[in-house]
């Protein structure tokens, strides 16, 4: 069994560096084996703990045969020096080279000998280079060494086929020993193979495999909480983080004073889960309890670790409580004017300017949505006051949410409080999307004002950079509109927003902004549709002549069409359309449709034409029937209902009649059909069914 085991022991490596380094190194080695034609078992491993990066390959071919290659050297006309250089760099004697003529002159050549190389030697020679290929997002130096690594690298263990692979890497020398204690880095142990390596650590209760570690933590958390009749909502990011900052997990159930449960629960969640990386516990009705699990990196025989962690939470929560009590009772209305001291963005005024704009934009939207103007104006006026609070300074991730709680504490309407809480939503892929109309109003206004302002002062995004999160913000805007089935007149809103800026003497070119923003929003909409797995051709066609006022309609039509496109009814729809479309667009039938009058029923020669014409008229009449105006499924079904009439028409009517006027009339009838279909969206760009 020729196995290859590499362990890089370092001081504590942060989770993200650990993860990318272990994946990186595994790929680097795979590529290396493949380039060198060395076979290996596909079941290889890249493992890590905060201190260890471990790579393991099984059944690595012991010897590799290097076939002879011929290498071209300098031209025979070139100087002695060039030849010398060639000989030295390839480590060859002069009598091994020969001359050969090519099309463009004569050159020296050299044939590398065919030879067997032991994989062990190859690894010893190449590993140092391979290690240097790891791409660190952040790396550092330490002491007087030249090496850059994620964190100080202390020791390298490299074993192949039971023996040490000997090489030097900067100041370090490889060995067959692993460092046992990560604290003092003094005790070492000789390792023979992966099996004994794993066994050794499992005896020490160290789980070197991150997947096993994660499962172990998860299992213990779930079992423990179940036995006590609690519920957990384990967040993936949290458990991944926890898994990668320890190697000897041990769960400890802790608690805090119940009085803190009176505070906004977000303060508790942020403190316990985000800051301290502990797991909160819920009761059977999913209500937050005063219990939490700590995952420690060692046993807690004396209960000291439990006590210590509880004290930390106690201190942090009482800190939050202290600010909460002060901030919630500070009159919000009276604080609004202080926002003039807080700069919003260079060229876009202060936060007071911002809320004054929001107030107007929300007022504008309230007319549109037929909701209380007074409420949206209060909500927007209060929306940024929490930025002045110590609590938001301590918990910046809770801005907005805390403002909502302050407003609640001061007796404002629920709709006002909720809209303040929701103003920045949605924030990420899984984030909640505002549903209440007041929340929608403030959230839209905030986003539009940011977009218009930033585009106004020419802060946009580049392909890789989006420092102000404008892409995410725009995606949020789109999600709000689409998930709430709202047709928002974005064009008007953007223009109005520009006027509001102008009233503050901040002047933008409306047309330029509308133009740039349209493109920007369009790009995000495309991304959004792709994410919903809508076919590319449907996306493209639905975005022709996009009107920002119709984002929701555009999306829904594309979505509905996408749903049926691979079903019988969808295929028929496209087939019928294409048949008509191809006929009217074929070269033979090129006529100036625009200059001609519409279909002339007097020129119909048979019932097939008449029926089709009548059917099309019925469809057009029904298409805008109130009942199905916003029912895009029904619209598609209506279009599909013409199937039989078209089939009969094509079976019995020859479009290319000898009489030019009849022919033209028939083509016009088909044109009429296409135009009817195009009321849904332009089917022309939809690809034919395979």
């Amino acid at each position: 069994m020729s196995e290859f085991l590499l362990e890089l022991f370092s001081e504590e490596m942060p989770p993200n560096l650990q993860i990318s380094a272990r994946n990186d190194l595994l790929n680097i080695l795979k590529n290396f084996f493949e380039n060198e034609n060395i076979n290996y078992d596909k079941n290889n491993l890249a493992l890590s703990t905060p201190n260890r990066l471990i790579i393991y390959f099984k059944n690595v071919q012991k010897e590799v045969i290097k076939i002879s290659k011929n290498i071209r050297g300098p031209s025979t006309n070139s100087s002695e020096e060039a030849l010398k250089g060639f000989l030295i760099s390839n480590k060859i004697a002069k009598n091994k080279i020969y001359k050969k003529k090519l099309d463009n002159g004569e050159y020296y050549f050299f044939n590398t000998p065919k030879k067997k190389i032991k994989t062990k030697f190859l690894l010893e020679e190449k590993i140092p280079d391979l290690l240097s290929k790891i791409k660190w997002k952040k790396s550092m130096r330490w002491g007087s060494y030249e090496l850059y690594w994620g964190r100080p690298l202390k020791s390298i263990m490299a074993i192949y086929d039971g023996n040490t692979l000997g090489f030097n890497y900067y100041h370090l020398k490889s060995s067959n020993k692993t460092v046992v204690d990560k604290d003092f880095e003094e005790k070492t142990k000789v390792i023979k193979d992966f099996k004994s390596y794993k066994k050794f650590f499992s005896k020490e209760r160290i789980i070197i495999d991150q997947n096993e570690r994660k499962k172990f933590i998860e299992k213990n958390l779930i079992n423990s909480s179940k036995s006590k009749n609690y519920k957990l909502f384990i967040k993936n990011k949290l458990i991944d983080d926890v898994t990668n900052i320890l190697d000897r997990p041990k769960i400890i159930l802790c608690s805090f004073d119940k009085k803190f449960l009176k505070m906004p629960k977000e303060l508790i969640v942020t403190t316990i889960e985000y800051h301290q990386k502990y797991f909160l516990v819920y009761d059977q009705s999913s209500k937050l309890t005063n219990m939490f699990y700590v995952v420690a990196d060692c046993n807690d025989n004396k209960g000291l670790i439990k006590k210590g962690n509880e004290n930390v939470i106690e201190a942090r929560l009482s800190d939050a409580e202290y600010f909460w009590n002060i901030n919630k009772s500070k009159n919000m209305i009276k604080q609004v004017s202080l926002l003039q001291n807080v700069n919003y963005f260079k060229g876009l005024g202060s936060y007071l300017d911002k809320v004054q704009r929001l107030k107007k934009i929300c007022g504008f939207l309230s007319d549109e949505f037929l909701i209380s103007k007074e409420k949206v104006e209060i909500a927007s006026t209060l929306s940024k006051v929490d930025l002045l609070s110590e609590l938001v300074n301590e918990f910046p991730e809770l801005q907005g949410i805390l403002g909502g709680y302050f407003a609640e504490a001061q007796g404002f309407d629920k709709e006002i409080c909720d809209s303040i809480k929701d103003q920045y939503l949605p924030l990420g892929a899984d984030s909640r999307i505002p549903k209440n109309i007041y929340s929608i109003t403030l959230s839209l206004a905030d986003k539009i004002d940011t977009l218009v302002g930033f585009f106004g002062v020419n802060i946009t995004t580049s392909s890789s950079k989006d420092p102000y999160g404008l892409r995410r913000l725009t995606l949020g805007l789109i999600k709000i509109i689409i998930h709430n089935n709202k047709n928002i007149k974005l064009n008007e809103l953007i223009n109005f927003n520009c006027q509001v800026y102008e009233s503050q003497s901040i002047k933008f070119d409306n047309k330029v902004i509308l133009d740039k923003l349209s493109n920007f929003i369009l790009e995000r909409l495309k991304y959004f549709m792709k994410d919903k797995e809508i076919r590319q051709d449907i996306i493209e066609t639905s975005l022709i002549n996009i009107n920002l006022n119709n984002l929701h309609v555009i999306y829904t039509k594309a979505y509905k069409l996408n749903k049926i496109i691979n079903k019988e009814v969808g295929k028929d729809l496209i087939k019928n359309y294409k048949r008509a479309y191809n006929l009217i667009n074929s070269d033979l039938n090129k006529i100036e449709y625009e200059t001609l009058s519409s279909v002339d029923p007097a020129l119909f020669k048979n019932d097939y034409e008449k029926n089709l014409y009548k059917k099309l008229h019925d469809i057009r009449k029904n298409f805008y029937n109130i009942k199905i105006e916003n029912d895009y499924d029904a619209q598609l079904m209506l279009l599909a209902s013409i199937k039989q009439d078209i089939n009969i028409f094509f079976e019995n009517v020859i479009v290319n009649d000898n009489d030019e006027s009849i022919k033209k009339n028939r083509l016009l009838l088909l044109k009429f059909l296409c135009k009817t279909f195009d009321n849904y969206l332009s089917f022309a760009k939809i690809e034919n069914i395979k």
């Binding site: 964190r151 670790i305 201190a315 700069n343």
Partner: protein, 289 residues
């Protein structure tokens, strides 16, 4: 160095123990820098000595002023004036983790029975033009120290690399003395409390920092200090120029606590200080290569 069980480790004996410990390990034990600074890092024994090729080992207590963190003495965890213990070693030794963990034993924290973690915390000081990689050290979930390998200082790459360990003395003593309020800490074996020594000063300085500091004259002071620093740099005097940077930095911190500096101005002032420090660093390097 041996910590007897059940004997309360007072605030001052914690300091003595750290001084003894690092003194035994070859650090020169310095005294605090006699100026208002925001952290032990600002002591020239760290900033300037971390530049250049010469070896350096030092440890000292540094009173640290953070005007914005004051709470009028009303908060059990926040102070505008507190103590850091700082160790700086260049080049960073290979066994620094062992040295550090043993130093914790010297102040009553046995790493074998506590959950000591190294949590990623890459450090940056925009005013010092400094950056480093390292960790905050957690003991049973509480941050007790910062552990940083300096990569850059005053805008210059460090070579060799220094390691800086900053102990939060109040935090550590609250942990070892099992106190929930910083003002309840026991300072010496006579039972003098932290409150008796510092409560009044927390109250008064909070009042000054937040409510009374004369912003107009402080803005003027800042400009004077900046000019002074430039003049001194023109006269090739790195250390006095650096003092002006420290003074300017503290003036900036008070203005910030007073809410007198807008976000836009903020980065402006920070870059002014950074430029001064850079000038100092350059001059210092010339003399110490």
């Amino acid at each position: 160095m041996v910590f007897k069980k059940k004997e309360l480790l007072t605030f001052q004996s914690s300091i003595f123990n750290l001084q003894n410990y690092w003194g035994k390990h070859g650090c020169i034990i310095l005294q605090p820098y006699d100026m208002e600074v925001g952290a032990g890092t600002f002591h020239p024994a760290t900033t300037l000595r971390s530049l250049g090729p010469k070896s350096w080992k030092a440890a000292y207590v540094q009173p640290s002023r953070r005007p914005s963190d004051g709470r009028y003495g009303e908060n059990p965890n926040r102070l505008q004036h507190y103590y850091q213990f700082q160790t700086i070693i260049k080049p960073s030794p290979d066994n620094i983790k062992k040295l550090f963990l043993n130093s914790l034993s010297a102040i009553g924290i046995d790493h074998k029975i506590h959950d000591i973690r190294f949590i990623e915390d890459d450090w940056e000081s925009p005013t010092l033009g400094a950056a480093g990689l390292g960790w905050e050290i957690w003991c049973d979930g509480m941050e007790i120290a910062q552990f940083t390998y300096f990569q850059q200082m005053a805008g210059f790459q460090c070579n060799p690399i220094s390691v800086e360990i900053t102990y939060g003395l109040e935090r550590i003593c609250m942990f070892t003395q099992k106190k929930k309020n910083v003002f309840d800490l026991i300072w010496n074996s006579d039972g003098i409390t932290y409150k008796e020594i510092f409560y009044e000063s927390e109250k008064e300085f909070s009042k000054y920092n937040f409510d009374l500091a004369n912003t107009k004259s402080l803005f003027v002071t800042f400009d004077i200090l900046e000019k002074e620093a430039k003049d001194l740099l023109d006269n090739n005097l790195a250390l006095p120029a650096y003092d002006q940077c420290l003074k300017a930095s503290h003036v900036f911190n008070i203005l910030d606590a007073r809410g007198a500096i807008s976000i836009a101005q903020r980065s402006d002032y920070i870059s002014k200080i950074r430029d001064m420090v850079k000038g100092v660093g350059e001059l210092w390097l010339k003399g110490n290569n």
